[in-house]
């Protein structure tokens, strides 16, 4: 029988560090995937990933029940916002600054690397680019849904908005991606059908 996340956490509370290691291993990919797509910088993603787990170690008693991955993503969301505020105090994730870009967008590298430029023909790269031009709040909803596979009620709780707002953000994100990727639809359909 599979051990639940809560059981693993209880074991860690009793001093079994390997139980925490099992939790880290279980959620390594979805959590790191969410972070690296939000941040777009390998070193910073590593730092945030580490910070998330250090907060889990310090505040594991605060986890009561529910989706553990949702709790991790919530912590990651808070860490990312803290970092943005530390750099630019009193700014929000979506507020527009230089050249109409939000802070979330400013955190990403605007100039694609030469290797990336060469690979622009690749569908996955175009999808990646399509995600990166989304406003930060919409992008976050999209990544929470696609990478961390959270429900909309969990996403709404993390972003502290109503479920309708979370759904609307996802709809906008998908709508923009459909538009951006409309030229690639034939390729997309072929990839899907194959």
């Amino acid at each position: 029988m599979e051990v639940t996340d809560k059981e693993l956490l209880i074991r860690y509370r009793r001093g079994q560090v390997d139980a925490l290691e099992a939790l880290i291993e279980k959620y390594r990919r979805p959590l790191f995937g969410f972070i690296i797509n939000m941040i777009q910088g390998r070193d910073e993603a590593d730092e945030i990933f580490q910070e998330v787990w250090l907060r889990v170690i310090r505040k594991h008693v605060k986890y009561k029940h529910g989706n553990f991955c949702g709790w991790l993503v919530r912590i990651a969301h808070n860490v990312i916002i803290d970092r943005i505020r530390r750099r630019k105090p009193e700014l929000s994730l979506d507020e527009e600054h230089e050249e109409g870009l939000s802070l979330g967008q400013m955190m990403q590298s605007n100039e694609p690397e030469p290797a990336t430029r060469m690979a622009l023909q690749d569908l996955s790269v175009r999808i990646n680019e399509a995600v990166n031009v989304l406003p930060a709040e919409q992008k976050e909803v999209f990544l929470m849904r696609v990478q961390a596979e959270l429900s909309f009620s969990e996403i709404a709780r993390i972003q502290k908005v109503s479920i309708n707002t979370a759904l609307a953000r996802m709809q906008y994100a998908l709508g923009k991606m459909r538009t951006i990727l409309s030229k690639d639809y034939r390729e997309l359909n072929e990839k899907f059908d194959s």
Binding site: Y12, R13, R14, G15, V17, L20, E21, I24, R28, R29, F32, G33, I36, N37, R42, A45, D46, F49, Q50, W53, L54, I57, R58, V61, L123, S124, V125, I127, N128, V131, F142, L143, R145, V146, Q147, L150, S151, F152, S153, N164, L167, A168, M170, Q171, L174, M177, R178, L181, Y185, L188, N189, K191, F192
Partner: protein
């Protein structure tokens, strides 16, 4: 139901957040609406491709080692029993025990005997129903003066002699039925008194 609402329900259906009735409405709408069917197919493709195409990556080995080292250090640093949550529960349990014990002690304490109760005891001891009735009436007000007056009448009637200053008569906290000595009185046998007269 309009298509915009249905498109939200398509998203909620992916996460299993639709009720049975909403699911049925969605299915009925999709049978009839080609636009919404296309939307559903499109977003499923976009999300499926995004899931596999977006950079996943993995944290560096040094990051993982750092996290586990911190976990071990935290685990060794303090006994896990004394985490804040346990402390809170212990404090709540101690407070609950204190309240329960306090309530129990309060309810089982020795209650002070009222003046009316003392007088009833005396009246019963001397067997005067008339005085008992008077006490039950005056006992509602708990006025010691009235009770002392009644006590004097009772004692005189039944052959007791009350001291010269009945106002100074004090009721003790506990009265023994057999010894109504709290009313500093001298007992004279009524039969003897009647005989003297």
């Amino acid at each position: 139901m309009n298509c915009e609402k249905i498109q939200q329900q398509i998203l909620l259906n992916q996460t299993g957040e639709l009720s049975g009735q909403e699911f049925e409405t969605l299915c009925n709408h999709l049978v009839e609406c080609e636009k919404c069917r296309k939307y559903r197919d499109d977003i499923e493709k976009v999300m499926s491709v995004a899931r596999t195409s977006l950079p996943a990556g993995e944290p560096g080995a040094a990051v993982m080692a750092g996290i586990l080292a911190a976990a071990r250090e935290e685990s060794n640093r303090k006994p896990l029993f004394f985490t804040p949550a346990y402390m809170q529960w212990a404090a709540c349990a101690a407070a609950a025990v204190f309240i329960i014990c306090g309530t129990a002690l309060w309810s089982f304490r020795e209650k002070p005997v009222s003046a009316a109760s003392q007088m009833s005891t005396i009246a019963m001891a001397v067997g005067s129903e008339e005085v008992l009735h008077a006490i039950s009436q005056s006992g509602k007000t708990e006025k010691d003066q009235e009770l002392q007056s009644l006590a004097s009448q009772l004692l005189l009637m039944e052959g007791f002699i009350v001291e010269e200053h009945p106002a100074e008569i004090e009721f003790s906290d506990a009265v023994d039925e057999r010894q109504p000595t709290a009313l500093q009185l001298h007992s004279i046998d009524a039969f003897e008194l009647q005989r003297c007269v």
